[in-house]
Amino acid sequence: MRFSTLRLQDFRNIEFGELDLSSERVFLCGSNGQGKSNLLEALGLVTALRSFRTQDLGSMKRQGSAGYRAFYAIEHEVDGRVNLEVEASKGPRSVLVDGEKVGRMSDFIGRFPVVPMSSGDLMLLRGSPGDRRRFMDLTLSALDGAYYLALRNYHKGVAERNRLLKENGSDAELAAFEAELAPHAHRLQRDRSAGVKALHVVLEQVYRSLAEKDEGPVLSYDPNLEANGVESYRDLWERQRSRDRILGATQKGPHRDDFKLGLCLGSAKEYGSDGQQRGLMVALRVAQAVLFQERLSVVPVLLVDDVLGELDPARRAGFWKACPDAFQIIASGTVFPEEAEAWKCYSVTSGSFITA
């Protein structure tokens, strides 16, 4: 897919903005805080209505405004030319595809795949298991709406079970939620295991073209519990009840899963140099994009927020080698790229965009 137009109203510091994005390469140039990342953030919403910069979705409207509105014209492999609108004011956000309201997130998620790359990605390496889970969950949800539904039901079910644990709920009610949580937990574990393996295969290929000299990347599933089939989750949660009641929360399950991510540099605990880490994050994002392309038969758009400038020249060259030509790339930076003529360039100052 490709973006051809973006129109924004009251989105962060952008009061109103319209951009022609009909180019394979679009570059947004400006000092920090002028609004280029905000624009990429708005483009990033189309995959799952999530921001790649914050989990606080309430903060995206411009201060003092009632809400934001985003309009996207997209060229799509499956759907042809699509007009997409996201509107957020009071109440739940609404999404319109060619004027028709999208009723279920599971039908929307992953239909318009984009992959953001930003320095925040380093949190996938340095941050908590929750950061890595969010990445994998979004990747797998975009690939399969059924995964998204299982995930949502699983999280709701754990929250319901936790309330029962805290309020001395009956064993019968706990058993009811445990029994219905189990198939969702099983599905999450199965899909995470398979998804991580598939992503690792792609990551190895991408990483090799990015940094040939280095050892291979490590990416593997690190489940919180080794359950074997639906029944074993039920048994485990039943056995855990008294302990869980004391702690007032479900201690074990896929909501505590982690993923091992790093570089094979001798010891597994080693993360490598700053340059190696940045290289690995770029490779992971390109791998995510390649996986989307393979599985969804839609070429995702890469949103590159000021990370190419942070790569050393060898890795930057590697990025271009690893990155399939077909990807539309919308990038930002504080200085114009080396081959500026290959890009459609905009200058960004205080939330306004001018063709450069």
Partner: protein, 173 residues
Amino acid sequence: MALHLLVEQPETGQDLMSCLSEAAASVRQCAQCGNLSETELCGICLDKNRDITSLCVVEHVQDLFALERSGAWKGGYHVLCGKLSPIHGIGPEQLNMGSLKNRIQAGEIKELVLALSNDIEGQATCHYIQEELVEKREIEITRIGFGLPSGGGVTYADSVTLRSALDSRRSYE
């Protein structure tokens, strides 16, 4: 009831307000199934042509209305008035669960169709009914939430969807 008055008897316009308040005052829950009723038992429970040994369990009266409109169900009903949700303070005691237990224990129920929402709370409620109310009794239990659009309960499904969901109902466990 109020809707029925508005739609079917517009000529009683001037008396409408008094009709409505009378109707509101006289409406209560059917003592057996939880449907809206002006009498102790509702019209469905009293209907001799219905097979009351087959019960369709729904969350809300609106779901019952939707099923009635579809014409897809010829048995009786049981309206739970919600689903299990500890977060919202809803346990079995907050639901119309005791009277369902009584109906089951009376031994006259042969089939239960659980038409609850297709989310974790609806599914947990199905499980609870199966394990705590039905126990080892020989009652055929099916869930039809699966055939309906997920997230939305029975109310949101159209007649065709409801009919095919009921026709294709499959045994639970």
